[in-house]
């Protein structure tokens, strides 16, 4: 059914369809609407779940960890400082191979405090072992959460999946979303969670034991393999979803107007919408330009990205986060993927922009393209700075 839904409502509605048994969250802007909607569903009996109102994000993640270890489907959501506060637990959930799904309503991190959108928060978790999927719009946010459980709960994966949704830009914006009418169809796509090892009084196991130097390396190797090998499962989840629900927004990556393109803009999340509008206009004007959408940031789809970019001249990477003391994050990884495969014909330029909710306008994209095509190997240069402000003391 087509509905006009706020991003947060779309997300909470898709979570309802996955029937989690334990939900736990701590309020933080811009995640709040998601968990408010879920609380209401529990209060109305529309979702039969325990909603545990915790005193912190650390405990929210811990509650879902404990519940997940009992073999039930779980959900949490957070943003920014909340995600950083959860970080320790997310690493732990991944290490313990528990299929928790969480939404990150992407938001800038302090200081200065900012409630507005960028991707610095989820980027900080990129080495945690959690799968990271990034939604472009509300429809994809809806579909991606259902796919997230399918991926997380695959016996070969058994990892947390973080669905990244741009704060405010998606969470607080209304769009037309086609929702699934029958929960039975979701149940068919997503069978009940069936974990091999759970906290069960009839079959006791010890979880989270001490890993001495003699076993730790192998444990982390298996974790590393699990997330690397999840690529094919992410692809399957997207394809199966398309078959059952007729919706497809890409799997690991998605390409847009990339045939015969010389220049490609690479980005994640909601900024892709603006970029595609600009690219449409430039295409009409005869420019050979396209868009590469990164849908899965972890596992990093290096082969797929290289395959998509290997014949183009310029890759312009929009960075909504920065590795301080290094530079661009996404551009660095793309350059590394190309280098590993000995492809040196692609000029990769990464620009940091849109931090802390600064709008990325169509004009910014036009200006960026003109600038970037004349530059080489830009590693996370800040773009769109207000020079007047730079002379002031903060």
């Amino acid at each position: 059914m087509k509905k006009v839904l706020e991003g947060s409502m779309a997300i909470s509605d898709s979570i309802r369809m996955t029937e989690p048994k334990v939900i736990s969250a701590y309020p933080i802007t811009p995640q709040t609407h998601i968990v408010e909607h879920l609380s209401q569903m529990v209060a109305d009996g529309d979702l039969k779940a325990e909603y545990v109102m915790v005193e912190s994000e650390h405990s929210a993640a811990s509650v879902v960890l404990g519940a997940s270890a009992c073999g039930v489907r779980t959900y949490t959501a957070t943003a920014a400082q909340g995600l950083l506060y959860m970080e320790e637990v997310i690493y732990n959930i991944a290490g313990m191979r528990l299929p928790v799904v969480l939404t990150v309503a992407n938001r800038a991190v302090s200081a200065p405090i900012s409630i507005w959108n960028d991707m610095q928060d989820s980027m900080a978790l990129r080495d945690s072992g959690a799968i990271q999927l990034v939604a472009e719009n509300n429809q994809e946010a809806y579909d991606m959460h259902i796919q997230a459980y399918k991926i997380a709960e695959n016996p070969e994966v058994m990892l947390p999946v973080m669905v990244c949704v741009d704060g405010f830009v998606l969470t607080h914006t209304f769009e037309v979303v086609e929702t699934i009418d029958h929960i039975e169809k979701v149940r068919e796509y997503l069978p009940p969670l069936n974990m091999k090892y759970t906290l069960d009084i009839n079959n006791p196991f010890s979880f989270g034991t001490v890993g001495e130097p003699s076993v730790y390396l192998e444990t982390r190797f298996r974790l590393s393999n699990a997330i690397n090998n999840s690529k094919s499962i992410i692809v399957d989840a997207a394809n199966d979803y398309k078959e059952m629900f007729g919706k497809y927004e890409g799997a690991l990556i998605d390409t847009y107007k990339m045939d015969d393109a010389d220049t490609v803009i690479v980005a994640m999340g909601s900024v892709l919408g603006t970029i595609k509008d600009v690219v449409d206009e430039l295409r009409e004007a005869g420019k050979k330009i396209g868009v590469l959408k990164i849908r899965a940031f972890r596992p990093f789809p290096a082969d797929e990205i290289v395959n998509a970019l290997k014949n183009i001249k310029n890759a312009i990477v929009i960075e909504k986060a920065v590795s301080l003391g290094k530079g661009g994050i996404l551009s660095c990884e793309i350059r590394d993927a190309l280098y590993q495969r000995r492809i040196n014909s692609v000029n990769v330029n990464g620009y940091v922009m849109g931090l802390g909710g600064r709008d990325i306008t169509p004009k910014n994209i036009y200006d960026l393209i003109i600038k970037a095509e004349k530059e080489e190997d830009v590693d996370g240069e800040f773009f769109g700075l207000n020079n007047e402000l730079l002379n002031k003391v903060f």
Binding site: K21, V22, S24, K48, A49, E50, V52, M53, V54, E55, S56, H58, S59, S62, V63, V64, L65, G66, A67, S68, A69, C70, G71, V72, T74, E88, V89, N92, M96, T198, L199, D200, I201, N203, P204, F205, S206, F207, G208, T209, V210, G211, E212, V215
Partner: protein, 302 residues
């Protein structure tokens, strides 16, 4: 009587088995064994990072014959909350005890927020704090439950210091302030009293807090054979009052049967040996005696 001695096979059938790597004379492992005897097999346990977790679950071995989980240092109570919620929603809670365990640091310092949240939300969880008065697992550093004047590696005694210069945090009172159904303080020196209190928790729904005094051989610096004796002297001197409370009100106290001066308790332990060197140390012992006297008065221990 030989018949009273457990065989190796018998001990392996216990819910917390032998073979762990706890120190000789470890009172915490004694307490855990006594507690598990009462709680029985229908128990799911969490442990915070700490001695118990490290010495009982060195992969691929585990001393736990019940489902057991360790996650992190500060979240034992939150993990237990999640387990309890999962059991409630799946209809498996009845007849299953959720046991949340941590040391004094994992309870009163880094884990206090998660513990307070668990209390306030009213989870049906038994929380046990094994109090050995410092961060023993990391090498005897001071915690909020380190007693006054105790030497620890981060509150050492020195030329101008008598060690830890703050009194022990009143953790049971913090639990009681949450008006939870049951709070109790027990000691590894009094196993029957400990087991009686654990048994009582089985009949009470909601959050329960039990703090157990567990002397630590390397941290307190005494001979392993004195673990029980030192635990008893803590009670008999008035330094570790044992009591029960319901909904914030004390309902029973364990009376001191043979009162001893605190010196009897202090002198057996290396962590207090700096108090026995000069006159200034004597004055410090007087201060500790005052703490005991105030406890005796406050809790009506005589």
């Amino acid at each position: 009587m030989l018949t009273n001695i457990l065989t190796k096979e018998d001990t392996h059938k216990q819910l917390f088995t032998m073979g762990h790597t706890g120190c000789s004379g470890c009172a915490q492992s004694m307490a855990v064994k006594l507690i598990m005897q009462v709680l029985g097999k229908n128990t799911i346990a969490t442990s915070a990072t700490g001695c118990l977790e490290v010495f009982s679950t060195k992969f691929p071995e585990s001393s736990w014959n019940i489902p057991w989980i360790h996650s992190l240092f500060e979240n034992s109570a939150a993990i237990a909350s999640g387990i309890e919620a999962a059991l409630q929603i799946t209809g498996k809670k009845d007849g299953t005890t959720v046991l949340s365990q941590a040391g004094d640091g994992g309870t009163a310092d880094i884990g206090l927020q998660a513990l307070s949240g668990m209390f306030e939300r009213g989870h049906d969880v038994l929380y046990i704090c094994y109090d050995n008065g410092a961060y023993m697992n990391t090498g005897y550093q001071r915690s909020g439950l380190t007693p006054y004047d105790s030497f620890t590696t981060t509150s050492p005694s020195g030329k101008i210091s008598f060690g830890n210069n703050r009194p022990k945090k009143y953790m049971p009172e913090i639990a009681m302030a949450h008006k939870i159904p049951y709070t109790a303080v027990a000691s590894a020196g009094y196993p029957i009293d400990l087991q009686k209190k654990v048994k009582k928790t089985l009949s009470i729904k909601g959050p329960k807090y039990l703090q157990v005094d567990v002397p630590c051989v390397p941290g307190w610096k005494y001979e392993p054979r004195y673990s029980v004796k030192i635990a008893q002297l803590a009670v008999q001197s008035g330094l570790y009052p044992l009591f029960e409370a319901e909904y914030g009100k004390i309902t029973s106290v364990k009376k001191i049967s043979k009162r001893v001066p605190v010196e009897e308790y202090l002198k057996l332990q290396g962590r207090f040996k700096h108090l026995f060197k000069n006159e200034a140390g004597k004055a410090e012992i007087e201060k500790i005696q005052k703490i005991a006297d105030e406890n005796i008065e406050q809790y009506g221990l005589l």
